[in-house]
């Protein structure tokens, strides 16, 4: 038959470690690539960074002063080396708009974005996974068709439109939720920072009223994102589950009398969820930057909103920092996902013949 592809070695730890090392090396390369790409994209922006920094009505001297101060008159290669060496030291430059270190500004805003992202994904998983499983298990039924219909609507949904719709009905119309303003009412002081998540910090510090308020402010943006994300998760779970249910080993499980529910959950879901891990990763990755729209719409003080402000004021230094941060988070996330994937799938974890 075919050439031997199977080196069925029973290596476990070595395989995993080597896998991780390779994965990590690739990630470093990717991060480097990200910085390069972003740096050069931002450098082609029309406009002179020095005069942008100097602000409107700046005198020529001031522009020159600024250019010197920020090394903007250096050759681009030198600027790049400077930026890279700064980057390695955790310096993403200084915001044009605020004169503050970009990294610090981003890190200040990150918890807000992460809180929004995590709750949205959580909601999406809670809706998407069970519905996807049910839809797959009852393939072709009205339930399946409705789930698919929902999935298409969800993945076709324009976030900004859905957000507006929700604001219109639930904030302005019915008044059930606060308007799209912030994480907390104006005037409510945030709870003492532990995690940066107001919901959790509120509970930790015993300020339950604040935590509850944070939940109310989270509700609409989380639902907006959760709805859209749930659709893609549902879609993926359904496909993966159908594939799993269609597989030979499910047929085997049936043939040797594994009870149906157990078969569905143990054989089906377990295997189906392996590809779903990737989807959730993609979704989370999407959230890390894709929430610009939602953060804009709901005035959410996160990194997405920061990026929007940076764009609308041509604060390219901040924008650059944001994009790099998002890229790096995404890369880290991917490592985590790959590890999760590897842990879930013995074919990867244990090396050997698995060819994907």
């Amino acid at each position: 038959m075919a050439a031997p592809k199977r080196a069925a070695t029973l290596l476990s730890k070595v395989g995993m470690r080597r896998y991780l090392a390779k994965r990590f090396a690739i990630s470093l390369l990717t991060v480097f690539g990200i910085v390069v790409v972003v740096f050069f994209i931002v450098r082609v922006v029309p406009g002179d960074a020095a005069s942008l920094r100097a602000g409107p009505y700046a005198t020529e001297e001031r522009i020159q002063y600024i250019a010197d101060q920020y090394g903007l008159n250096d050759p681009i290669s030198e600027q790049f080396v400077d930026y890279m060496s700064g980057f390695v030291r955790g310096d993403l430059g200084v915001s044009i708009r605020t004169n503050q270190p970009v990294l610090g500004e981003l890190l200040d805003r990150l918890p807000a974005s992460l809180e929004l992202a995590l709750y949205s994904v959580l909601l999406a998983v809670l809706i998407g996974v069970p519905l996807g499983i049910v839809a797959a298990a009852r393939q072709g039924s009205w339930l399946d068709n409705s789930a698919r219909f929902f999935a298409v609507i969800g993945s076709s949904m324009a976030l900004f439109w859905l957000g507006l719709l929700l604001i219109f009905f639930f904030a302005f119309g019915l008044g059930w939720f606060p308007g799209p303003v912030d994480r907390l009412a104006v005037g409510t002081a945030p709870p003492p920072t532990v995690t940066g998540f107001y919901t959790i910090d509120g509970v930790l510090s015993g300020q339950f009223a604040v935590a509850w308020e944070a939940v109310r402010y989270l509700a609409l943006p989380v639902f907006t994102l959760g709805f859209v994300l749930a659709a893609s998760i549902l879609k993926m779970v359904r496909v993966a589950m159908i594939e799993a249910l269609d597989s030979d080993y499910i047929r085997t499980a049936k043939a040797v009398g594994v009870p149906r529910m157990r078969m569905l959950l143990v054989d089906g879901t377990r295997n189906a969820l392996i590809p779903v891990i990737t989807t959730i990763g993609i979704v989370l990755g999407f959230m890390l930057g894709g929430n610009i729209i939602v953060e804009f719409l709901f005035s959410w003080p996160g990194v997405g909103r920061y990026a929007f402000d940076a764009i609308s004021t041509s604060d390219l230094e901040s924008l650059q920092g944001f994009v790099i941060l998002v890229g790096i988070l995404y890369v880290i996330l991917n490592i985590v996902i790959d590890v999760a994937y590897a842990l879930a799938d013995p074919r990867i974890r244990l090396g050997g013949s698995a060819s994907t």
């Binding site: 005069s51 100097a54 005198t59 104006v186 005037g187 409510t188 009223a209 005035s299 604060d315």
Partner: protein, 563 residues
């Protein structure tokens, strides 16, 4: 089917989840007042938190007055008084740095409107101007920085020098109008006395001294924080302050765009409230909503349409007053050859639907601009100068006369300026009538100002507001040949002569004559389309009093109080 039984758990789980969501949503309905309660119970601990910059917060004897929440439309990004970049920053620095002079205010429609008469601010014991223009300032010995240190003449002079010498400050732009060109103009006389000696007496000197850029800054602290690269400690003062103004900086949450200000115990004046929470809420609709709900007390920068809606709300007070602000579209003849034809520019000026702009963009919260000398401004004589009104027939006739074929032109607008964008739509439609295709180009602020400075735009929107309300000052910036901010690049030598004469002219009759001639020249040249003159507008909750409009039209906090 057996399936039903087996899948029921999953099905039920999903349904329950959905129900839980709905329930969570409905649950909110039962406790509409919850938000405010939460605010009340949780706000105090945070504001009581000890702050090194404001050790005396708790000593303020204003237990009954709560903090007033002011929402702004812009970022609060730099608290450095000489580098501020946005209205938000300006408002906060005005609260932190007290200038030596202030205006005299008159009550009108519940608001305190500034007049052009100036008086010593609480920082001063006395202020005198000699005939040669030398001004002598004597400090109030009770005036202290927030740290408790006294404000000395040395601090005042340090600040004045800094404003000239520090690279990056744009204060030097102001100084020619008060005839100062070197730091030697500032002298410390004794611990509490200093003088400013301009090259000649000027009408604008007193007015300029009311601007926050001339509020004292502690010299010793600045020197302490200075570095070799940053000898004026800009970095430090970008995020910190030792206030000389009515408030101290209690906290600044950049991510939320929130600054909390508490009354400054060292400030010798009277603060009418228990502190201010300044919030950046960029979205105007949200500011309006929050104001309606009573979540905020003061909303700055509401678009006219919303203001007109809010004016009917009994829970909201809308304060408006005419302003000398001018909104225009520059037409740069050198950038676009078609615009070099004066007849084309005049045709365009006739085509613009001025009334539609006043009604449908500004909703009545603006007055006719006419020329750079706007209708609320001193020496305005619109009809006499023959200012433009919409007349499409005339416009078409002028186009025909010009012999210029239908052409395309780009109209640049800033992305953050929605009224300009709206006006652009009307103007685009109107100019189509006379064969001119307008392409609207919306640009972010930074790129916009850079291109504007570079004279890259053929047609562009600009708003200008001259602190100090002076027509010649206004024209110096916008119409003088070769002026840095004369973005339309129009140049009329006669106009330059008028400006030169008018700037230091003190005789009102002569000023009026010069003004009329200038307006006629501007109408004739038609270098700009004078769209409207925007009113000063502020919306507050009905329980707020003490709204103040000064020369800068930036919100002032210390007189606000809440009943």
């Amino acid at each position: 089917m057996t399936g039903n039984r087996l899948f029921r758990p999953l099905l039920i789980a999903s349904v329950l989840l959905a129900l839980a969501l709905v329930a969570a949503a409905c649950g909110e309905d039962a406790e509409p007042a919850d938000t405010t309660q939460a605010t009340d119970t949780t706000a105090p601990p945070a504001t009581d938190a000890p702050d090194p910059d404001a050790p005396a917060t708790t000593e303020v004897p204003a237990p009954t007055s709560e903090k007033i929440i002011v929402s702004l439309s812009t970022d609060i990004n730099i608290l450095e008084q000489h580098l501020f970049r946005s209205t938000g920053s300006y408002a906060v620095t005005r609260a932190l740095y007290q200038p030596f002079l202030d205006q005299v205010y008159v009550d009108e429609g519940g608001a305190r409107l500034g007049t052009s008469e100036v008086v010593p601010s609480p920082l001063l014991d006395s202020y005198e101007v000699a005939d040669d223009g030398t001004a002598t300032f004597t400090l109030n010995p009770d005036a202290k920085f927030a740290s408790g240190d006294s404000i000395t003449a040395a601090d005042a002079v340090y600040m004045l020098r800094r404003s000239i010498e520090a690279p990056g400050s744009y204060i030097p732009l102001l100084l020619p109008f008060i005839a100062i060109d070197s730091p030697d103009a500032f002298t410390v006389v004794d611990e509490l006395t200093f003088t400013i000696t301009p090259n000649q007496p000027t009408a604008l000197f007193g007015r300029f001294m009311t601007f926050q850029v001339f509020g004292p800054l502690q010299e010793s602290l600045a020197n302490e924080q200075a570095t070799e690269e940053d000898p004026f400690a800009f970095d430090y003062f970008t995020t910190n302050a030792n206030a000389s103004g009515p408030y101290t900086l209690t906290s600044w949450d950049q991510a939320r765009g929130e600054v909390i200000l508490d009354p400054n115990p060292g400030w010798p004046g009277q603060v009418a409230n228990g502190g201010i929470i300044v919030r950046n809420i960029p979205d105007a609709e949200q500011r309006a909503l929050l104001l309606q709900n009573g979540d905020i007390d003061v909303a700055v920068g509401l678009p006219p349409r919303l203001v007109s809606e809010l004016a009917d709300d009994p829970n909201i007070n809308v304060y408006t007053a005419p302003s000398t602000r001018v909104n225009y579209i520059g037409m740069n003849a050198t950038t676009d050859p078609n615009l070099s034809n004066k007849l084309v520019r005049q045709a365009i000026s006739y085509a613009v639907p001025y009334q539609a702009l006043l009604d449908n963009v500004m909703f009545g919260f603006a007055s006719t601009a006419g020329t750079l000398i706007t209708s609320p401004m001193e020496t305005y004589q619109g009809d006499a100068a023959g200012i433009y009104t919409t007349d499409l027939a005339k416009a078409q006739a002028l186009m025909d006369e010009s012999g210029v074929a239908p052409f395309e032109v780009e109209l640049a607008v800033q992305n953050a300026r929605s009224q300009d964008q709206e006006a652009a739509v009307f103007i685009q439609d109107a100019l189509r009538e006379i064969g001119i295709t307008v392409n609207i180009n919306v640009l972010p602020q930074g790129e916009y100002s850079e291109k504007l400075n570079g004279r890259e735009f053929a047609m562009f929107f600009t708003e200008w507001f001259s602190w100090g309300d002076d027509p010649f000052y206004q024209m110096t910036f916008l119409a003088k040949c070769g002026a840095f901010t004369n973005f339309a690049d129009g140049c009329n030598e006669r106009l330059d002569e008028i400006i030169a004469e008018g700037t230091f002219e003190t005789d009102q009759q002569r000023r009026n004559e010069l003004g009329l001639e200038a307006q006629q020249l501007m109408v004739e040249d038609a270098n700009r389309i004078y769209l409207w003159s925007e009113d000063w507008i502020l919306a507050t909750g009905a329980n707020i009093t003490g709204v103040t409009k000064d020369f800068t039209e930036v919100p002032r906090f210390e007189n606000l109080s809440k009943n």
